[in-house]
């Protein structure tokens, strides 16, 4: 069964963007395990807002990204760009079907709405957080509208000389 992995950079106060949408606090000086991570995945799950934002930035927004199949979650979009796959309607059923298809793991790339939906449906298998040594004081929170307590199992920690700490959890109740 393919795993759905929520993987993101966060500040110590839990923001994935600064108050003005900044990402400048995210370290780019090292690989931080990303090469290994990219070997594990062949697809991404992305919400409509993040998808549309990425479209406006063009491919240049993600230099070095491998070719990934994009699953775009939206109940309002009628079509998505060539090669991408639109997911709407019964998310639970559709995600379970995608997870049961042959393939590598799937990177849940955001945003907050999709993350909350999938967490609340027990469809996320792993959470990887790159905790950066900074307090942003505001911005967009990684976790919003989670409707219940979710127990996690810590499976790995790694700290880097820059102060980044990588935390990996499995979700106990994931199907």
């Amino acid at each position: 069964m393919r795993k759905v992995i929520l993987g993101l950079a966060v500040s110590l106060d839990g923001f994935i963007e600064g108050p003005n949408g900044e990402y400048d606090w995210c370290f780019t000086d090292q690989d931080y395990g990303m090469s290994d991570f990219f070997k594990r995945i062949d697809s991404i799950f992305i919400g409509r807002k993040s998808y549309e934002l990425a479209l406006t930035m063009g491919d240049a927004a993600m230099p070095g990204f491998p070719r990934l199949t994009e699953y775009v979650f939206s109940n309002t979009l009628m079509e998505v760009k060539p090669g991408a796959i639109l997911v709407n309607g019964d998310i639970e059923q559709k995600v379970k079907r995608i997870k049961s298809e042959p393939g590598k793991d799937i990177w849940l790339f955001g945003g907050a709405d999709l993350t909350a939906s999938l967490l609340n449906l027990n469809l996320i298998d792993e959470i990887g957080m790159a905790v950066h040594p900074v307090i942003l004081g505001g911005g967009k929170s990684l976790f919003q509208d989670i409707s219940k307590r979710i127990e996690l199992k810590l499976v790995d920690t790694k700290s880097y000389s820059t102060g980044l700490v990588s935390l990996t959890y499995h979700l106990k109740q994931a199907v």
Copy 2:
């Protein structure tokens, strides 16, 4: 110079209490470095709301706590319990004076308002977070109303078999 240490248990989503004020997710099965921490300190800083909450719970709320000098921060209280010290007015000047007095380090015990005030005034020297392997989905956030970006220096990480990860940071700009 005495250090002011913000030390707290948090959920992975950054809450220090659950949606209904719960603390039942906080591990109590091991020491988690608390004995060593208590050897470093002889005082606590506490905000009015936390102080009043602790008063209602009585001493039973903190079994095993060493005898600490309590500095209660409030501009509305006129007096505090015997042995405690009321701090009001010019917080910056008063905290700097307390830090320059002889003594051990000081535990900033909360709450969110006092934490934000002291962070914004660059008066916190160290942050120790015991990150618990749980997503609470709501509650009281550790960091609120921080007015600026604060760079941190990671100085220690420790992970425990229960999944608790202890992260220790120094504040780069602390005086």
